[in-house]
């Protein structure tokens, strides 16, 4: 992506930067017209992510609508994340990784204990073992949301492919150090995430990875935007979205 492209990364327009450590959870609000770059700082990161319209949190990322609207089972550059109200929460304007998982779900306490053993806060302080489900519930609680709102999530940087018989396979090494994905927000969005390992991660040890977040003022989607024009479905979803801000 050349620097001259509309909405491309521009260091002079950066609003904030933040590192999210391995195994941590984070939430924040991204305004319409701002882009969030999520960077895999060490390689092998997983980011379990949920998205809500910040002005009406009943409107949220909808896995099924996102997939069937774009005839895809995974996400990459050119795709958008649909809400359950036929609108676009964010567009993927750049992606050096190539595949982000939409079907694997999140890890939970029982699974982490079974796979990696136990490491409590009492003995390990902030190196204790966390899991995706509890981490997301923890962040959701800050906004009056909870388990009921923990819908099917994204897993950035992870690849789960499906063979002709439907068998799911976690693909190791999908994301390298420095890989990134740019999410341009089309509405004010509550982003909730956990950097715990993917539930299908084949590694035998607890080893989540850190990520870097960089937000910048990119502007909204122009008329000739590749995400808007990727398919007729996306064009209609952008019309629905823009009516909300008309």
């Amino acid at each position: 992506m050349s620097d001259s492209a509309a909405g491309a990364f521009d260091p002079s327009r950066v609003l904030w930067e933040e590192r999210v450590p391995a195994g941590a959870h984070w939430s924040g609000v991204l305004r319409r017209g701002n882009t969030l770059r999520v960077t895999d700082s060490e390689g092998g990161a997983n980011v379990s992510m949920l998205l809500y319209n910040y002005e009406d949190k009943l409107e949220r990322y909808n896995m099924a609508d996102t997939l069937k609207g774009q005839h895809t089972a995974y996400l990459t550059k050119g795709h958008v994340c649909y809400s359950d109200m036929g609108r676009v929460l964010c567009s993927i304007t750049a992606d050096s990784c190539g595949w982000h998982d939409t079907i694997g779900g999140v890890s939970n306490a029982k699974m982490v204990r079974r796979k990696y053993g136990e490491a409590r806060y009492q003995e390990h302080h902030n190196e204790y073992f966390r899991n995706g489900f509890d981490s997301l519930v923890n962040e959701l609680g800050k906004y009056g949301l909870g388990k009921r709102d923990l819908v099917a999530n994204l897993n950035l940087f992870s690849k789960v492919s499906v063979d002709d018989d439907g068998n799911m396979k976690f693909n190791e090494g999908n994301s390298k150090a420095g890989d990134f994905i740019d999410l341009r927000f089309e509405m004010p969005t509550l982003v909730v995430l956990s950097t715990c390992q993917h539930p299908l991660d084949t590694a035998s040890e607890y080893k989540p990875r850190s990520i870097d977040l960089t937000a910048w003022r990119s502007g909204t989607a122009p008329a000739d935007d590749p995400c808007r024009n990727a398919c007729a479905e996306n064009q209609r979803a952008f019309i629905n979205t823009e009516r909300l801000f008309a």
Partner: protein, 215 residues
Amino acid sequence: MTSGLTESTLSVGDAAFREVVPAGEPFMKEITKGQTVRILDLEGNQAVDTLFYSARDPEERYDANNTIREQGNIYLTSGTILRSNEGNPMLTIIADTCGRHDTLGGACSAESNTVRYALEKRHMHSCRDSFLMALAEWDNGLSKRDLSSNINFFMNVPVTPEGGLTFEDGISEAGRYVELRAEMDVIVLISNCPQLNNPCNAYNPTPVEVLVWDS
């Protein structure tokens, strides 16, 4: 899951409950632990959008991701354990004469119809409308917030190794069914899909029958 077709051992004459659900209508009923529920595709190629909630604690509900991940396969068929958001078994598919069922395609809604087909399709009847009306009638505090990723019994949504996803013609026929044994007390919430714009119902939504046997 390999699509092993499994016939039921139950006799229709022994069913404790039978009800035909016309296309475009919701259905909601408590199924107690040990009971068996059958969904019967009366005329063929009908999509049956289905959600399950724990009857004791509706915050515990069917979870599509947990279900497919724990069996390592995206299709539901005989032997599939339907898991909750807490990871607990809710129901087990004990018979299936269709072969496989979808849980990635979700439910149609007025809003998703505008995106998928045309802005003017907003006013066509949809599964989410049926779900919302059923929840309103149930009157236990559940709302759109609680409409998570559902099962589409009899629906065919193949995913390719390259990551493509399409709605294909159904693989069900008249008389095919899926049967589930409840592993906890559950509320089943069905929308018998009214969709007219894609092949999930062969463009012709038709009735299904729900049967329940006591343990």
